[in-house]
Amino acid sequence: MLEFTAPLFLALQQTTGLNFSPFFDEYDLGRLMTGVQTSLLLILCVLAVSLVVGLLGAAAQRSRFWVLRFLVATYIAVFRNTPPVVQLLFFYFGLGAFTPQVDMGGWYEPMISSFGWAVIALGIFGGSYNVEIFRAGIEAVPKATSEATEALAFSPMQTFVHVTMPLALRFSLPALASNLISLAKTTSIAYVIAVPEMTYALSGVWNDRLNVGEMMTLLFVYYIAVVAIISVIMGQLEKRLSVPGLGK
């Protein structure tokens, strides 16, 4: 790839002074590629964890046990009202100190890497918003619908799985899309615990090459593209799940 881009971007640098080093310098290209891969994987994992946490939380909120409901309420209150950066640092440095170490053949590494902690911390952070979104979705399902299922002898579980959840999911989609997008953007703060995602990778490049403007432009383009991709996927999902006459 480098042999195609290098002449072009070297010429660009000579004529305009714009230094897009990842497109002609092998080391910087490596950083960029690691950055893209790590960032995409991080976003994917964080979104997945946040969705699972959100669903579990929303289900737990409907539990008959007040202790469980109180725990979920506490979880939401704490994670939605404290800074995500501090949460991340707290998880990584605070709780990370108590995780066991794994023998890597002569040296030890923590069982949960900085990437792992970023997934956990950001997933839980994003999940606290998803719980509320799913709850709102569930509350938007007309009560009369579950009345009908009751009259038809559905069990509460059957009602939840076959009627409430499918409807709640559809009602939640727009809010969910915007939360997932904002969560994907928030993954950039994994920078503080040295996860080699995009912001980390490119800041490394501009520290060494002093090409802040160029790398910043790349960074903006990257995140706008990521947001666009998530919007498209969520839009497609909304379209596929859309049912004539529902939600209009």
């Binding site: 007309p142 009369a144 619908t145 009345e147 009908a148 009751e150 009259a151 038809l152 002898a153 559905f154 069990s155 059957q158 076959h162 009627v163 499918p166 409807l167 559809r170 799940l241 049912v243 004539p244 006459g245 529902l246 209009k248």
Partner: protein, 254 residues
């Protein structure tokens, strides 16, 4: 048809037997002692001013609304006791609501098939055949792949009736099923109910359609203030009401 359900009950006994029923919401007493029995194949219309407890009464019959005092027997079984299996009851008693309450994310055919498949775990092919037959019966065979949102209110209400019938209930409860409909679609729903009644289905209806009540009811029950004021054959209630309140009510609605 109902032998596996109860042995003590014989078809000549009341299929629904309500005794001394009381129900309060908070401090407000909605039902102040209702006694009502319905026999198999009977069509009962409950009429009365709004707030008189008609809807609450019909909802207690399949346990949607828990009661405070009294007893309800369905096919000889006490359903108001603590240990009663409500799900088993609801398989026997079909109910249709004012707001059709179809599942908007499922097609018409799926709506009809869902309960027998999930609750009764019946084989798919069998349920599908029955569902199609029922949709044909409510004259909606051509709409089976439509979604509820694409249908008119009257059509949705007929799907709701088919959906209930697909559970093969022994009796049907109709809670003001035409109240939310446009006038032009009321008739198609009433026709469906009439067909059902003429086939011998036990039906209890809460309705504001006096003409319809007069036409199909075996017995009309007038409730007011949480009590049954009077009941009797439609000719008697509409033609020669005994109680002053009945007279006044009928003079307002007729």
């Amino acid at each position: 048809m109902t032998t596996e359900y109860t042995e003590a009950w014989a078809p000549d006994q009341p299929i629904i037997d309500i005794r001394g029923l009381h129900k309060s919401f908070g401090t407000f007493e909605v039902l102040k002692g209702i006694d009502l029995s319905v026999h198999q194949g009977e069509v009962i219309c409950i009429i009365g001013p709004s707030g008189s407890g008609k809807s609450t009464l019909i909802r207690t019959i399949n346990g949607l609304t828990p009661i405070n005092k009294g007893q309800i027997f369905i096919e000889g079984q006490l359903i108001t006791g603590p240990k009663f299996d409500r799900l088993a009851l609801r398989r026997r008693v079909g109910m249709v609501f004012q707001q059709y309450n179809l599942f908007p994310h499922r097609t018409v055919l799926d709506n009809v098939m869902m309960a027998p498949r999930l609750v009764l775990k019946e084989p798919k092919a069998e349920v599908r055949d029955r569902a199609r037959a029922l949709l044909a019966k409510v004259r909606l065979a051509d709409k089976e792949n439509h979604y509820p949102g694409e249908l008119s209110g009257g059509q949705q209400q007929r799907v709701a009736i088919a959906r209930s019938l697909c559970m093969r209930p022994d009796m049907m409860l109709f809670d003001e099923v035409t109240a939310a409909l446009d006038p032009e679609t009321v008739k198609e729903v009433l026709t469906t109910i009439k067909d059902l009644a003429s086939e011998g289905m036990t039906c209890v209806l809460v309705t504001h359609e006096m003409g319809f009540a007069r036409e199909i009811a075996d017995r009309v029950v007038f409730t007011d203030g949480g009590r049954i004021v009077e009941s009797g054959p439609p000719a008697q209630i509409f033609g020669d009401p005994q109680d002053a309140r009945t007279k006044q009510f009928l003079s307002q609605v007729l």
